[in-house]
């Protein structure tokens, strides 16, 4: 359900404002049919989230198409023109480069990069924001980017992991856990995957596929004699859409 200032919003009222048969409409419809209620203070905030979620989906498809190579943190690689690879395998933005250019370079020179699945999702989030906000605003907001995993994130992204999520919304990052992973293949402990809104997910290293196929892929990396299957957790990691919307409209008006 969607509420703006306490009023329930119908799909028709959103359909007037987004392209017909678009992913934006799918996002809106899934939000409306969701068990949780999404609250907004005005229609622009809602439309901002719908648009940013569709850009997350587009950024996921683009990264998959560009064939970003999967690697463990120990074997990660990046373009040294824009990023400094830290000893723990993360990518730290260099001081003398534009943050937006550095994020875009991952898409322009994808062959120079290789990393883990959580980093790929963070890259997708940043790319979607670059495309949504102006470069000026993006560069001002995200001058200290560190790409690694969820442990070290810019608080301005407002990323939060929500629990008890019964149904995801397209653009959510879901997690498939592999409880009996082969102890020598720890990188297969689980898969972060973006819900693409058409019954498929983008998981870096696995590609774009269904939940069942992701589970099959993880199950094939279990320890000998394993009996527990990989499974989809009921959590969703989301950008701080309202926070980002506030910053976006603050700039415009």
């Amino acid at each position: 359900m969607i509420k703006i200032l306490g009023n329930i919003i119908s799909l028709n009222s959103i359909a007037e404002k987004v392209p017909a048969n678009s992913i934006e409409l799918v996002v809106a419809s899934r939000m409306i049919s969701n068990n949780n209620t999404f609250y907004y203070s005005n229609i622009n905030e809602l439309l901002f989230e719908i648009d940013l979620r569709s850009r997350i989906i587009y950024a996921s498809r683009e990264l998959n198409k560009n064939k970003l190579v999967f690697s463990t943190f120990r074997e990660s690689r990046c373009n040294p023109m824009f990023w400094k690879r830290t000893e723990e395998g993360g990518f730290l933005l260099k001081n003398d480069v534009m943050p937006s250019a550095a994020i875009n370079d991952i898409y322009n020179n994808t062959y120079m990069y290789r990393t883990e699945c959580a980093t790929a999702i963070i890259i997708v989030f940043y790319r979607a924001i670059v495309k949504k906000l102006s470069e000026y605003r993006f560069n001002k907001m995200f001058s200290n980017i560190y790409l690694m995993n969820w442990k070290q994130l810019d608080s301005d992204l407002g990323v939060r992991t929500h629990s008890n999520v019964l149904a995801s919304i397209p653009g959510d990052c879901m997690y498939f856990k592999n409880p009996e992973v082969d102890p020598l293949k720890m990188e297969w402990q689980g898969e972060n995957a973006i819900d693409l809104g058409d019954g498929t997910y983008y998981g870096h290293g696995i590609g774009i596929t269904t939940a069942d196929r992701i589970i099959d892929a993880l199950n094939s990396k279990r320890k000998a004699g394993a009996t527990k299957s990989a499974y989809l957790l009921d959590t969703a990691t989301r950008l701080g859409f309202r926070h980002l919307a506030e910053l976006h409209y603050l700039e415009r008006y």
């Binding site: 943190f73 120990r74 830290t86 000893e87 723990e88 395998g89 959580a118 995993n149 969820w150 442990k151 994130l153 990323v159 939060r160 992991t161 997690y175 856990k177 409880p179 992973v181 102890p183 020598l184 720890m186 402990q189 689980g190 972060n192 320890k223 957790l233 959590t235 990691t237």
Partner: protein, 405 residues
Amino acid sequence: MMLLNTYPYTHYGCPMGSSYFNIPCAMSNKMCYFQNNMFNVYRASSYRAYMPICFAEESDILQSEVGDACCKNTISARNTIGGELDNIRTTQDTEHVKEIFNDMIKNDKVKALSLINEDSMLFGSLFILYSEIEKLNIFEHLNLRNKIAINIIKEILSGSSELSDIGCSPCNYLEAAHSGIRWMLVSGAYDDGLDDTFDKVIDSAASLLVKVYSDKTVLPVIADLIFKRNIKGLFHNDLVWVFFEAQSPESLILLAEHFKSPYAADIELAYKLLRFIPNISRRIGISGAEIAKHFNNWIEDNILFLYYTGESFQQSINPTPYRISLEAKYLCKVVSVDTGNIIESIDEEQYKLLKEYSELDTDNKSMLSSFSYDMHKKNLKYWNKWIRYSIAEQIAIAEMEGEHD
């Protein structure tokens, strides 16, 4: 070999605090309380880990010193405890050690083999000589411990597993492999940071011990490595994952000890790893010691009711690896860390109570479970009377008592 409980050696011999407090423990799945200090908390609560006692090598004892600035440095420890090859490493660079070993094999093979098979040798020396062992084709002359370690290195580096015949029965192999992998981690910790590949092998050894052998006795070593690598900016994510996958709530103490560290990076990491605990915060003006005290109170009140959720930083920005079973705390019954289910028997009356309890809102659940636990600890006779009242009466009493407090 010595018979030891390894927990007292958990953390570089530097206890977190000297204050004594009541700590609950689950013996035979029954709640009891006794006075203890922080180290013994870990030991006492390890009753639930089913592995309070183990045989420790000399190197295990030394492990308590790993990474500890206030203890002996590793070089001097190595001089007295490591093998002869380790001593050579303290004065020679890696390439030179390889040359010396090569010469020894040519001139006095028996001596060379006896040195590499020394019980006291550290894993770092075997790892450095791995390529020489392959080149010189001396695998067959290695002892079982070294054969196992070499096979594991091979598997980690190649990424594929091969069947190997190292000449022992499956049962003996299981024992020997556990002991060999343990040696890799515990003695290898001295050389952590040797190079990236070595660290990867160390991480894999930790993963095997925890995930395959459910060996919780190595958690102090793993905790030390996590904080050491964090200070150096080295990769420690896999070790953090392994540490939590051990499903050992008592091991959180090993992380909380770092709230008292003189290093800001240690405190910051301890905070990141433990911030799922309510009110653990980095507020200005709150010292590490105060956070540690808050942690002590929380773990004391909840340790028997914690269960593992499997959440990690690979999945979430704010993972909650352990949650409290409020139902278990309300009935003062121990839970399974693995499932979160109560593992003590529950009678019909208690089933009824639980059903009513489950319909309460979170605030009332939380209030009742805390009140029940406190009362159980302070006055068991009164608790037995209180728990027989209806839920509505229980809430009324708890609210009234709360006001008096």
